[in-house]
Amino acid sequence: MTEASSAGIQIRGLTKRYGSTLALNGLDLDIQPGEIFGVAGPNGAGKSTLVRMIGGEESPTSGSLTLDGQAWSPTDAWDAVSIVHQEPQLFPNLTVAENMVAGREGAGAGWPKPGDADLQIMDAMGLHAVRDLPLGECSLAMQQRTEIARAVARQARIFLFDEPNSALTQAESDELFREMRKLAESGRIVLLITHRLGDLVRNCARVAVVRDGRVRGVLSGEALTEEGLARQLVTEAAAVAPPALRASFRASEAAPRFKVQGWSSPNAFRGVDFSAGLGEIVALIGVEGSGARELLRSFGGLEPCTGEISVTGATDVDWDRFRCYVPATRALSLYSNFTVGENLLARLGVPEIANWLLALKKGQMAALVERSIRRFLVKTPKASVPIRSLSGGNQQKVAIAQALNRAPELLLLEEPTRGVDIHSKNEIYHLLRDYAATGKVVIVFCTEVLEVFEVADCAYVVGQGQLSTRLTLSDYEHVEVLATDIARLEQGADAKVGA
């Protein structure tokens, strides 16, 4: 790669440190203009940090960036870069045309109007019809297109697409990729960062696989296939020897404990039949927009659904006692105004931490906190420090412990190890395994194959709101094979809708 021409972006030894964690660890990358360059990687691999670096939202700890052979600091030359997010970050109250000019209004004192050049760009991008509509009333696809048009108008050179099509329909995302190709053909630098391997294979000339803050390989030509990418994403990374952890019995033989039938939600999935047995950890895997996340939430009673839901055959259960849902982001599970101890107890009530008069049982609370800290391996100097002072991994343990303290029969977790270091990750997997082994049902929503491999007994791939056949994890000795199968099932789901 050293012979790369001076045009484009060259990144050398890019390193970013957040406290004690290395988000990027000497990353090298060359991106040429005229191609769509893909970036793939598991959660926490450093993809989003890379986007923030190139987008100038943060500056690197060390390393160098050059643009067309010149030293380049994106933090200063921010207007050369445009980041197109899944959720456009614009002004929903202004019209599309006003959004085009916002920030470049010029010196006039009047209400700013788009210039001729702006109008041409908007026409070329098919924004003519919605020009005078408030942006907030336009479809997501139109909003994204407005964001691109804005960047084109300010003559940005570099376009970063960060999971741009996860909320778009098939037709809309096809349209988006056409737009991306046009940008690339006009000599701009286009990066696509996505979890959807199919999109990377179909649209990119080259795809870099990022893992642990480094580029682990760049695939192009013949080697660039979904299976190839899936393998690259998981090789070497399987540090745990999970099969030993797995439940010894074939859970499918046990009677189902938790069951849904004909389970449908208006926008996410339809007619899902699903069951899980005692002691089982079931993984639902699917990319954003596949319906997997919504399915998990619906089991927690957080999405309006139709269909039948039952526990060992009974439908009238005290659901709030029966199940606990742990969201993916800690911002949705932890209370920043609470200490570690208070967070551990936040889901409890009468009789665990208060008597019938609602008076808190302080002694019991302290003992319970002490016990939870030990049982759930929370590393904290003491129970009374603010929750934010813990490391991400320990915060996550607190978030899960908070739910486990209620001893729910059905534990629902969304990406339980997102943004968590490898050590805490293993501890969390052990916690979940131990918990399931006490005769509970654990259902996990994952976006990473590796996580499925490490934690689950069986898995379902969700695509376009449909459940795949059941994958039994003990059939897989190698994570690569699992990755390939999951990639195939995801493709299959895609193909079904395309037909």
Binding site: L302, S333, E342, A346, L358
Partner: protein, 344 residues
């Protein structure tokens, strides 16, 4: 004033969060003492227990309302209507009892029931209809004031001089005035004991009960509480109800002490009560606030108010101080929090 405390190893067995709150309240009461010191320097005659007693009386009704407001602010909502509720309570009681002769023993509970209804109204609209509580209670502020004008027919009432035709039994009158009777050498009003008693109850509710624990959780992260299936709606409505009832009680007690009701009483209390809560360390973002802090805030304000009134530089000075103290207290808070962070 608090940054050095957190560095002291003696405090290591308490968490930083506990130390933060202790330092905040310590700072507040230090400010109360400093202000007293300044007044004494200006005028040594202020060293007078009568004055201290009257500060306590003045702060009572503000503190009672502020405690209710603290609950609402802790749960992450806002109530602007308590001042109007205070006025409505006094006026409704006056009309029921003084004008229509309903026995005071019945009229007082009825008034408190009305207060509870007002609280449920605020809470219901803010949670079920999802109207921001700022808007709901801005509306009910005006609504309640309107009701006060209506029921009182814009008149003032004094139970000692009931309108001709009604005759208030002396026993009822004694009972009512006895609610806030002053006694002892320094004429300490019973209203102060009401304040302390309510502080114990509300303090228990907020700091020692599951109710308060969950109010803190809901105020700290409403979405997390909802996802964890805590009864968010019920708790928010309860906070509004307690706030309204306490405002009603404050109105009744002040009516008993002043013995005159006017349709617009209480309205001007709205912002001093807010100031007391904010100075006391509650955060408008929710999830943070203490009863002892709120009482300290009310004490500091009453002290300034009375001291400045006696120095009589003019009413504008009190008002300017109220504003300045509120801003400085919160500004200092943020500054010290930042300082602590940078020292860590």
């Amino acid at each position: 004033m608090s940054s050095d405390l957190t560095q002291t190893p003696n405090f290591a067995k308490f968490g930083r969060a506990t130390v933060d709150i202790a330092a905040r309240i310590g700072g507040l009461f230090a400010a109360v003492i400093v202000v007293a010191g300044v007044f004494l320097l200006i005028n040594p005659h202020f060293a007078n227990l009568n004055l201290a007693v009257s500060i306590l009386r003045t702060m009572s009704s503000v503190a009672i309302m502020a405690m209710g407001l603290t609950l609402v602010i802790v749960v992450g909502e806002i109530d602007l209507s308590f001042g109007a509720m205070y006025g409505l309570a006094a006026n409704v009681l006056a009309v029921m009892w003084v004008v229509h002769g309903v026995p005071v023993y019945v009229a007082i509970p009825l008034t408190l029931v009305i207060a509870a209804l007002v609280g449920s109204f605020n809470g219901f609209l803010a949670t079920s209809w999802k109207i921001p509580s700022f808007i709901v209670t801005l509306g009910s502020y005006n609504l309640l004031y309107g009701l006060s004008l209506w029921v009182s027919n814009s008149g003032t009432f004094n139970p000692n001089y009931p309108p001709s035709g009604t005759d208030l039994p002396q026993g009822q009158l004694d009972f009512f005035i006895g609610l806030t009777a002053s006694f002892g050498k320094y004429q300490l009003s019973a209203e102060v004991f009401w304040m302390l008693g309510i502080a114990l109850v509300v303090g228990f509710l907020l700091h020692r009960s599951l109710f308060g624990f969950r109010l803190m959780a809901i105020g700290g992260n409403t979405e997390a509480a909802r996802l964890a299936r805590l009864p968010v709606r019920r708790y928010k409505i309860s906070a509004f109800i307690v706030c309204s009832i306490l405002a009603g009680m404050a109105g009744i007690l002040d009516f008993s002490f002043i013995q005159t009701s006017q349709p617009d009483i209480g309205l001007s209390q709205t912002f001093p009560v807010f100031a007391a809560v904010i100075i006391g360390g509650a955060s408008l973002n929710g999830g943070k606030g203490t009863i002892i802090g709120t009482i300290g805030g009310a004490l500091l304000l009453a002290e300034l108010q009375l001291g400045l009134a006696l120095l009589s530089p003019g009413p504008h000075v009190q008002q300017i101080f109220l504003g300045a103290v509120t801003i400085v207290a919160v500004g200092l808070d943020l500054f010290l929090a930042k300082l602590r962070k940078s020292l860590k």
